[in-house]
Symmetry: C2
Subunit: 382 residues, 2 copies
């Protein structure tokens, strides 16, 4: 027989699982939301992942179900598990990636360092939190946010008035009970991310902690390893990542987004329980990529080595793409100019702000690697 | 628009083109011989590649047609070109990979070093050649041979009697006129291979010359670079590879199999105009794999860097596979034992002697790399 993995969601994360699946002889099948998505080459079904019958039908012929995103409802996930389907990560873990309030509560119980936070159900509660935190706060919807969506920096509760109204109208975006998450605006030096993978049988493996440079709330550039992270920073990030993976029972890849504060603390910002943008460098820069490791993890296969193949890898996202939507010319020019650059395109139509690909360069000299990666990516951003 | 590449043939070489096609955003389509072949994930058509209508229909929707093998008849290739289809490598180049007599004649014109050879149409001619070459010769059918098939070491023409009979009966396996190829049995120290890629617009790029260890006429193990090849051997191999690619007008990847003789000459053994088993190490060991480079070449895109990422890469073929045909257990055990090994499986059913996958390990210490690669591959050969 052959290992069969079913991926719910047809975006670029599912797409990037396909090459390692092919190399390892894994039969990978994707339930895509629509025709022609990034992962369409492996799409064996098209349908609505919130519909239990659709997901059940898809899950019938695979050894394990995993995900391109974290949006499959708990009710669907729990029904699959009750059916006897193997699901990784499972609903007990995924709930903490699906609901930021639950995540904060759980990490708090574990003593994981975090920004100050509060559950706020009313404008008055939020204004109190703002007053207690220097006149500003980050407000997040508990559910549904990603890439800066559902996140707002405010100085008054009035600035998220419509979010409170939405809570009132439909019981709120949070299953946990109609509340928003308020967080202190952390004075951070930079953002880091710790990528971890954990098998159902318990093994945990880690890649180096990386630096993630955000632009407009979206990851723009990742440097692996994070410069100057050897020693204390790497140890703290690894300990936090390992603790979260183990205590939350995460299976597959876990990305822990971190703040390194100006007073040298490491605080958990966000969690993602799937391959993550901050790990794309690993396709070219690590012996085992996050996508291959995720497949190994969800099949409970032994992990591959996660060592970095060169001193540095730098990944730059291609955001939006060329104004005329035409990728062939930029691809050829980037290849001509930067022969060491690994160009990755997701088969998505360019659109302002959309992640349509990325470029990775690896090498021994950080300045050179950064220059080459930026030069190659620039051809796509004209 | 998106680059569209059509590959004729659904074997493992087509399969291994799929991951880089996905990464580069190339729309790859395969014309497979049957359902369920190694490259089935990209198969958009199933049919007979010797049937012009089938191939024509397949070629309609792609920017370039290329190949998993060299068996598409010249008549089909030339009809496609006459239709205006872009074909790489083209029929003028491919004829030299399809017909070993033509290859020897052409390389002779170019002054490329080769074993002594002769066109033999009769048993008497072959016996003369044998007598002139120490009582033995290698006899090859001009067409259709691979992996040791159509190749025989003989001491008398009687030992290939049925090949001569076949020539008499149907005008012979050689379009060039009903003859076999006789070659001196070279006293070689080892076999090497030079992998080259050439774009239609002229650029040529090379990987390091590798050592190829054959068992029973089949490539078993490849070491890149060939130990002790720096300097003279690498220069000679590179010059030969470049000359052949340029003078024969090869487009895409060219593999030149070489003998390094006991008296330190480098002689051309065979040519293949496609990605080749001696280049599989490049998937994990080079910045740009032979499969990615082949796609770039046939689309006339600029080449990626071909530098080797570690001091050594060793590839071991998985030949035959486990006796019980079951790959899941061996895969898990190989992964557990050798976390640095890159396991590649082709989605083929194990069968004695069949190439069903390979394992590559890269690193700084050759002994260690060889040990790890052999250890990982051994789990599949129980």
């Amino acid at each position: 027989m052959t290992f069969r993995v079913g991926v719910i969601g047809g975006g670029q994360l599912a797409r990037m699982m396909v090459p390692p699946a092919i190399e390892l002889g894994i039969d990978i099948r994707v339930l895509a939301e629509t025709e022609g998505m990034a992962a369409s080459i492996a799409a064996t079904a098209v349908g609505d992942y919130t519909n239990l019958d659709t997901v059940r039908e898809f899950a019938k012929d695979v050894d394990v179900v995993t995900f391109d995103h974290e949006h499959v409802p708990q009710s669907v996930l729990r029904a699959l598990v009750a059916d006897g389907v193997t699901v990784h990560p499972g609903p007990d873990a995924l709930q903490f990636a699906q609901d930021k309030l639950r995540m904060r509560e759980r990490l708090g119980e574990l003593g994981i360092p975090m920004p100050d936070w509060a559950r706020v159900s009313t404008a008055a509660e939020l204004d109190d939190f703002i007053a207690d935190h220097g006149g500003q706060a980050v407000v997040k919807t508990a559910r549904g946010g990603y890439d800066g969506k559902g996140v707002r920096v405010v100085t008054s509760a009035a600035q998220v008035e419509e979010w409170f109204l939405a809570l009132d109208e439909d019981g709120g975006p949070s299953e946990a009970g109609g509340a928003l998450l308020a967080e202190e605006l952390v004075d951070f030096r930079r953002e880091l991310a710790q990528l971890v993978a954990r098998r159902p049988s318990g093994d945990v493996t880690l890649w180096p902690v990386v630096e993630s440079v955000q632009q407009n709330g979206v990851c723009a550039e990742v440097i692996s390893p994070a410069p100057g992270s050897a020693g204390r920073v790497a140890e703290m990030a690894a300990r936090i990542g390992t603790t979260i993976a183990e205590e939350l029972g995460v299976t597959g890849v876990l990305a822990v987004e971190l703040f390194e504060t100006t007073d040298e603390r490491i605080l958990v910002n966000e969690l993602a329980m799937r391959p993550h943008n901050t790990g794309h460098w690993s396709i070219d820069g690590s012996t085992t990529s996050q996508f291959e490791q995720h497949l190994r993890a969800v099949l409970d296969l032994p992990f591959g080595a996660t060592g970095q193949r060169d001193a540095w890898s730098v990944m730059i996202n291609i955001l939006g793409g060329p104004a005329d939507g035409e990728l062939d010319g930029p691809t050829a020019r980037a290849m001509a100019d930067q022969p060491a650059a690994k160009v990755h395109l997701y088969g998505k139509q360019p659109r302002p702000g959309r992640k349509i690909g990325h470029v990775t360069v690896s090498g021994e000299d950080l300045d050179e690697v950064v220059f080459q990666a930026r030069a190659a990516a620039a051809f796509f951003q004209n």
